[in-house]
Symmetry: C2
Subunit: 202 residues, 2 copies
């Protein structure tokens, strides 16, 4: 029985998802079509439908798994038992996220793909649920880091870790958005601004 090996199957599946991500970031969410993804993947219609039930499942997986990869990439930074001060932590986070695509040399900007996912998740309950879970767990990681700061005495113990975590998540998401919108959001500016604000004079 000429069944393809599980490894090869997984490889092909990921190949299709990469094609979908390329289409997503090149043509945008509403312009992406099955024909596009199929052409980009180099496979045939039948082949692609052998791996996914339909378009929604592809877009869904492309976004969800791409975001999960990003999450896995930054997790070590947020789990650091002795987290650096906020500006340095943010520098580590943002540059890790920014370099993720470049390091892999796959030409995919996962931040851009994630942002399309934000839009898509509004109309796709499954994606919405997956996205919600991902970002909530990220926020919890942030909150734990905040608690470590408090333990170390570098932050007011009376502050609410959940609130600060929420703000930090906003900064990361906003960085992604501003980058996509203006093209010139950069890590150094964000880090510099945090340093300046935290050392204010009044």
């Amino acid at each position: 029985m000429p069944k393809i090996s599980p490894e090869r199957r997984e490889e092909r599946r990921e190949h299709i998802l990469q094609a979908a991500r390329l289409c997503l970031q090149e043509h945008g969410l509403e312009a992406v079509s099955m024909e596009m993804i199929i052409a980009r993947s180099g496979l045939s219609t039948g082949a692609v439908y052998g791996y996914f039930k339909g378009k929604d499942e592809i877009i869904n997986a492309a976004v969800t798994e791409g975001t999960a990869e990003l999450g896995r990439e930054v997790a070590p930074i947020l789990r650091n038992p002795e987290p650096p001060p906020l500006p340095e932590l943010m520098r580590q986070l943002l540059s890790t996220i920014e370099d993720f695509g470049k390091d892999r040399n796959d030409g995919i900007d996962r931040l851009l793909v994630a942002m399309h996912g934000w839009s898509h998740s509004q109309s796709n309950p499954e994606l919405k649920a997956a996205t919600l879970a991902t970002y909530r767990s990220q926020r919890e990681l942030f909150a734990e880091t905040v608690r470590r700061w408090q333990s170390a005495g570098v932050l007011d113990p009376g502050a609410d870790p959940e609130e600060i975590a929420q703000l930090l998540v906003s900064i990361v998401l906003g960085f992604a958005a501003q980058r996509a919108l203006t093209g010139d959001a950069d890590v150094r500016a964000h880090v510099g601004a945090l340093e300046a604000l935290m050392c204010r004079r009044d």
Copy 2:
């Protein structure tokens, strides 16, 4: 000649855009169709096409003009010659943005619509240009506020206003994104977090 009055024409045009925004926030960018918008508007196909050249022009105008409205709404806060400290300023900004839809009672969450626009602008050059201009001018308004802080001596004069403006824009955009994604991002948390971070102990 039975021409409709310019006022009534503008009214109808805005009515169509409102219908488009409702469809956008209810069904998401990729699921929204002409049929939907037309049905929601209560007009006929021919009528709608008398006001707009096509779908792209409607989506474009719905997002661009909605964002412009938001911009106009927050402008006074950013032009305040004696801006309050950052946490209070951010409180004014975020709650103004958040309440904008509710105040109008039109059931439209312009933050959500704007976020769909972020995605759409990636594939629509005209929208991208309009969006870029809007957010850049917002950033400049932020930068001017930062300079006022510096003049008033509440912020390090050596800090770069452009960098801080970039961070503040990220916080606002991130607030919008997190709100759409998790549904529980809230103004008080963001303000509280800013207060806590700016009064840190180290």
